[in-house]
Point group: C4
Chain length 262, copies 4
Amino acid sequence: MTVIKVLQKPKLKNPILIVGLPGIGNIGRVGVGYLIDELKAKKFAELYSEHFFPFVILEENHEVKLLKNYLHYWKAKAKGRDLIFLTGDCQSQSSEGHYHMVETVLDFAKKLGVNDVITIGGLATGEVEEKPVVYGTLSEASLEKKYGKYKIDFGVHKKVGYIVGAAGLMLGLGRERGMKGICLLGETSGFPIVTDPKAAGAVLDVLLKIIGIKVNMKELDSRVKEMESFIKRIEGLQKKAVMEIVKDSKAPAKKDELRYIG
Amino acid sequence: MTVIKVLQKPKLKNPILIVGLPGIGNIGRVGVGYLIDELKAKKFAELYSEHFFPFVILEENHEVKLLKNYLHYWKAKAKGRDLIFLTGDCQSQSSEGHYHMVETVLDFAKKLGVNDVITIGGLATGEVEEKPVVYGTLSEASLEKKYGKYKIDFGVHKKVGYIVGAAGLMLGLGRERGMKGICLLGETSGFPIVTDPKAAGAVLDVLLKIIGIKVNMKELDSRVKEMESFIKRIEGLQKKAVMEIVKDSKAPAKKDELRYIG
Amino acid sequence: MTVIKVLQKPKLKNPILIVGLPGIGNIGRVGVGYLIDELKAKKFAELYSEHFFPFVILEENHEVKLLKNYLHYWKAKAKGRDLIFLTGDCQSQSSEGHYHMVETVLDFAKKLGVNDVITIGGLATGEVEEKPVVYGTLSEASLEKKYGKYKIDFGVHKKVGYIVGAAGLMLGLGRERGMKGICLLGETSGFPIVTDPKAAGAVLDVLLKIIGIKVNMKELDSRVKEMESFIKRIEGLQKKAVMEIVKDSKAPAKKDELRYIG
Amino acid sequence: MTVIKVLQKPKLKNPILIVGLPGIGNIGRVGVGYLIDELKAKKFAELYSEHFFPFVILEENHEVKLLKNYLHYWKAKAKGRDLIFLTGDCQSQSSEGHYHMVETVLDFAKKLGVNDVITIGGLATGEVEEKPVVYGTLSEASLEKKYGKYKIDFGVHKKVGYIVGAAGLMLGLGRERGMKGICLLGETSGFPIVTDPKAAGAVLDVLLKIIGIKVNMKELDSRVKEMESFIKRIEGLQKKAVMEIVKDSKAPAKKDELRYIG
C-alpha cells in the first residue's frame, strides 16, 4: 500500500527528476526544499505509504500530519528543461520499503517523461569542513563525459562503499528503466541531528550549474534554519519511536513458545 | 489478510465513527465500551487480522477467543446523527499492520456513509491528575471553529510530538478520503496497566457534548472495573507473548550464515 | 507462497480434522504421528511455505528434506466418521505466517467436508506429572455438552491465558468458517527438548474415546522414542538457526543510516 | 518484487542449472565465476529483488551498482548438454526472500528446460584442510547411483544438520518441480571473509567430471584473488549495513507505546 495522490497533471518538457529526501546532514532535504521555495515550484502529487512510521505528527496549527513525500514541478522559462522535485518527511523504514518506494516513484516519473535523475545526499566525514567537497557517482560510467566539466569529485568510492536508501536506489533502479542519473553528495560532518546548510549550498552550486538555472542563494542559511526545526522534530520523533517500539516479534521460536503452551 | 465479517447491514443516517481501541490508560477502549453498553449499541461487524498476535485467549466459559475488533452502531432517536463505534481487543502489532487496519476500517466506514471521525486516546503525563485535561488535535485546522466551543485544550503538540497507531492514523488517512476528524486525548498518568476511569470520564463528558447525547455516567467506575480485568488480561498476555517470542529471525546475515554451511 | 501439493483426492465421509504439530512436549506431533502409523493412514497432501525456516534438513539417506506439513486420511471401517490428520516438521516462524498457514489448511479442509477440528498440544507445568491431566478448551462453550462426558479438565484458563500458534488458531479461525473444535492439552513438564510420551498417551486415550476408535497403545513408548530423534534434530536445528540468523535488519533508522551516507 | 530481466533468449539443449552464490568460503561464487570466465559463458538474464539489501555499491569506474544475481549460459560443443550458471552479488536477506528467490529462479529455469540442478557451497570445519573433501547431498536418494562414481563423500549429514539458503532450497524446492539435483560442498575452514580457492578447486574437479567438461584450472588461484576483492567488499558492506541498520521496529508493543500516547 503505497499511494501517489495526484493533485494536478502537469505537461512537462523533458523533465529532470531531482530527489532530496531526509538523510545525512539533511543536505538533499533542505537543498531541494530551498529550490522549491525559490523557484516557486508547484506541488502536484503526494505520496504516503505503509512503509513509513505508523504515526502522525502533531502540528502547531492543531492538525495531525500524515508522513508524506511530495512531488513539485517547475516549468522552465524558455527552451530549458522542466524540473520535478521529490522531497518529503521521511524515507521508508524497511528494506523492502526502500525498493517499493523508489520503484513506485520511478514508474510514476517515467510516465511523466523523466529520463534523467539527480539525487542529493550527504557524505559523512566526521569533521567540520570549511569548504565542503561535492562528490558524485553515476548510474553509468559513460555519463562522466557529461558531468565531468562540473566541480564534482568522482572519487567517492574511495571514501565509502555504498549508498543506503533512495539516493542510491533511484540511480540503480532508474538505470533498469533506461534512466540516466547522478548522485551528488555534499561533504558534511555527519552528526545526525545537524542540518548542514554549507554542504547543501555547495551541492546546490553544482546542481544549479548542471540544470542551468540561477537562484538567489542569499536566503539559504535562514531558510535552512526554518526548515531545520521541522526536520529535527520528525527526526527526533522517529528516533524516539524506534526506541519505544519493541523489536519485531514476528518469529515465535519453537523453543520459547514451547515453554508455555501450544 | 484482514477480514471484516459483516453480521448485519444497518442503514445509517450521516453516521459519525467513534474509535476507542486499547492504548494508554485504555481511555478509548473503556470510554467507547461504556457508551456501547449504555446506549445498547448493536454489534454489526467483526474484524480479525494476521496483523494481530498469533494466539487465542482462553476464556472463563471454556471457549477460545480470537483477537478481534468490533463495530457497533447506534441509531439516533429523532433527527440526530447515527453513531458507529470501533473498539476491540488489540491494535496491530506491526507498522504496516497499523496502516492496513486503519485503511480497511476507513474504506468500510466510507461505504456506510461516514464523513466524520472521532478517536479517543490517552496522553501520559507521568502524574496522577485530579482533574484530567482533555486534549484535542484535528484532521484539519479549520475544524477548530467547530470544536473550539468545547472544553478541549488544543495545545497537545507542546506536550507530545506524535500519536502512534490507530487514534492518529484514523485522522491522517481519513483526511485522504475526505473525512474530517478530531482526536480526544485524556490526560492520564500513563502507567500502562492502570485503566483510568477518571480520564475516560473526562473525555466522555466532552464527547457526549460534541455528539449531543446524554448518557448516565454513574456506572462508569464500576463498569470500567469490570472491563478492566479482561483488558488487563489481554494486555498481560501480549506483554508475555512479546517477551516469549524470539526477535524476528528473517535476516540471515551472510557473515553468520557462512559460519555453518551453504 | 504457501503450497498445498495434493497427491490424492480422497472422498471422505464427514471427516474430523485432527491436528498435531510440533509444540510443547511435542505431544500433538507424536500423538498424531502414532495414530497415523497405527491406523496406517494414507498421506494425500503435503504443504510447504515461505513461512517456514529457509533451510533444508540433511537426512541419513543422503537426501535433503524440505520442511513440510503433511495431511493423511483414514477411512472408517463401517458407519464411523473418516479422519484427516495434520502433522509436520514445524510451525510457521512469523506471526502472519501462523494466520496464513492455519487459514490455508482450514480452507482446504473445508472443501474436503471438515466441520469438526480436534487439536492437540501440551501445557507446561514445570513439573514431572505421574498421571498427566488432559485439559480442554472449546471453539464455543456449547460444545461442553458434547465433550463433557470425557475425562477432560476444562479449567485450563486458570493455568494459562492463551494458546500460541496453530493449536489455538485452528479453533478460533475455524469457528469463523462454521467449524466446531476442541483443543486437548496434555499436562507436561515443558522442558522444551523432552518429548513426553506419557502426556501424549493420556491425550490419545481421551482422543480415541472421542473419535470412538481403538488403537493398540503398546508401541507408543518405543515409537515415540523413534520419532523423537528426528523431532529433536529439527528442533535443535531451528534453535541453532534462530541463533545464527542475525536479528531482522529491515528498519534502517534515520539516525544510524545518516552516520554513513545517503 | 523480484525482477528477472531477460537480455537474450537462448535455445538450450537439456540444460543443467549450476548454482554458485555467495556463501561460506565463497566456494560456489568463485567456482562458478571461474567456470563462466573460462567457458566464456554468455550472460542472458539479470535478477534483482526487494529481498536484497537496500543499497547500491560504489564502483571504481564511478558507477553505482545495484545488487544482482546473474544467469549465464554455455552451449556444449557437440552432443553434450548445455549449461546455465546462476551466480551473483548476494543472497536474500530474509527468510521469505530465500523461498521467493529460489522459486523465481526455478520457475524461470523450468521454462528453459532445466531438469537437473547442481548447487555449490562450502562446509565449515574450522580447520585449514590440506586436501579438502567434497561432500555431497542429493535431492533424492536414488541419485546416489548416478553420483556415486565420483569422489563425493555423502556423509555430510554427520557433520552438519542443514543447509541454509539457496544451495539447499534449490534442491528441496526443485524436487517439488520434478527436478533432480546434487549439492556439492567443499570442505573449508569457514572463516567468513576468507575465500577458499583450494576448496573451490576441489569442488570444480568433481563438478567438471560430472558435467564431462575439461577446463584449464591453472588460472583459478589468480582469478579467485581478483574476484575476492570485489566479493570481500560487498561482504564487508553488508556486514557494515547489518550493523548500522537498527533492528526491525515493526512491532509497537502495547506496553511501550502506551507510555506515550494513543
